[in-house]
Amino acid sequence: MSLIILAIGIFGLITADNLIKKIMCLSVIENTIILNFISSGYITGAAAPILTAKDIATVDPVPQALMLTAIVIGVCFNSLAIACIVKLHEKTSTVLVSELHEF
């Protein structure tokens, strides 16, 4: 499943002309990786890793903790990238890659 979404993201990243769409595709790829990690630690039928009772099967908390970091960094990355695009738009008054080649 995450493979299909990854393919969509990479295809969009390559073919999109608009820089903002490229950023959106990067977010899609990032979410794919998060999905992949979470599903790799998932055990069908197991509970969340909160040990309220003894001897219950829980999913692996390690990838979840890793991806918590990735989500926050993703937010930072998105905001910085959008700020970069605003700056670029102010210099060149375009966000299309095909028009940026002319500068």
């Binding site: 790799s40 630690g41 890793p49 909160i50 908390p61 930072c76």
Partner: protein
């Protein structure tokens, strides 16, 4: 949308194939996730960190140094975003640009008539998306969302939640308050100086907490409360509060700055 040539499509397909060749083995790999860390956490995680929520135990106990750096990344992103938006000639809401921040940090003199985020109500034409419905709903929901965010933040060691998640909910609450604000109703939480002072103070507290273990005899990143109470989750709770405030104010700051931006 301009028409793409055939060559362009061939290039795109080739790049996609190359990416697939690199990434397919990573996704199709069938080796199960190593269970050593999970087993260790199941046996010792609660006892070592005091948090029943094992995810909290990992990122605030066993891997706290990484979390410390991550909050630093968040603050760097906030600084970079605001700096770049200001340099790009965008008119940020008053107090959210670099000059307002420089003025605020001195703390001297009179505040420039309380820089707040308000979109003028008397000009509805230029803000067609801003309706009275939006104002009323977000204004009422904002405090409720804030309370829920604090709940998620404070119970992170005990239930699903934690500093980052609660911080994100708090950020949406702050944005709701900012969107729902009218001229006569103001909230301290949507003012830029309040936001970044909370953020700075939280980060200072976070750094102090990491160092305080040295003086309490449990080492760097150690739990300073270990000798005071038996309830060792207190340390994780304090860290959760710090991180929640940093994330909430940071993301709220970026959102308000971007929402209120008027292109000159």
């Amino acid at each position: 949308m301009r028409t793409h040539t055939l060559r362009y499509h061939v290039q795109a397909a080739a790049a996609l194939l190359a990416a697939a060749a690199v990434l397919l083995p990573v996704f199709l790999i069938d080796v199960p996730w190593p269970a050593a860390a999970r087993d260790y956490l199941e046996h010792y995680g609660v006892g070592d960190s005091g948090a029943i929520n094992l995810v909290s135990a990992v990122y605030l106990g066993f891997r706290f140094f990484d979390t410390l750096g991550e909050t630093l990344v968040l603050i760097a992103a906030v600084c970079g975003t605001i700096g770049m938006l200001t340099r790009a000639g965008a008119i940020l809401p008053e107090g959210f640009d670099a000059s307002g921040m420089a003025h605020g940090f001195t703390g001297e003199g009179e505040a420039p008539d309380t820089p707040t985020f308000t979109i003028p109500v008397e000009k509805p034409k230029s803000h067609t998306l801003r309706t009275h419905l939006l104002e009323v709903v977000t204004g009422v929901l904002g405090p409720v969302v804030l309370v829920f965010g604090f709940y998620v933040m404070l119970y992170g060691h005990y239930s699903p939640g934690g500093g980052f998640q609660g911080g994100a909910v708090i950020a949406s609450g702050i944005v709701f308050l900012a969107l729902g604000k009218r001229e006569e109703v103001t909230s301290m939480l949507t003012q830029a100086p309040v936001l970044y002072r909370i953020e700075s103070a939280s980060y200072l507290l976070l750094v102090l907490m990491t160092v305080s273990g040295l003086f309490a005899g449990s080492g760097f990143l150690g739990n300073p409360f270990a000798r005071l109470f038996d309830e060792s989750a207190a340390f994780i709770m304090v860290l959760d509060i710090c991180i929640g405030m940093i994330v909430g104010t940071g993301i709220g700051f970026i959102c308000i700055a971007m929402v209120g931006r008027k292109v000159s």
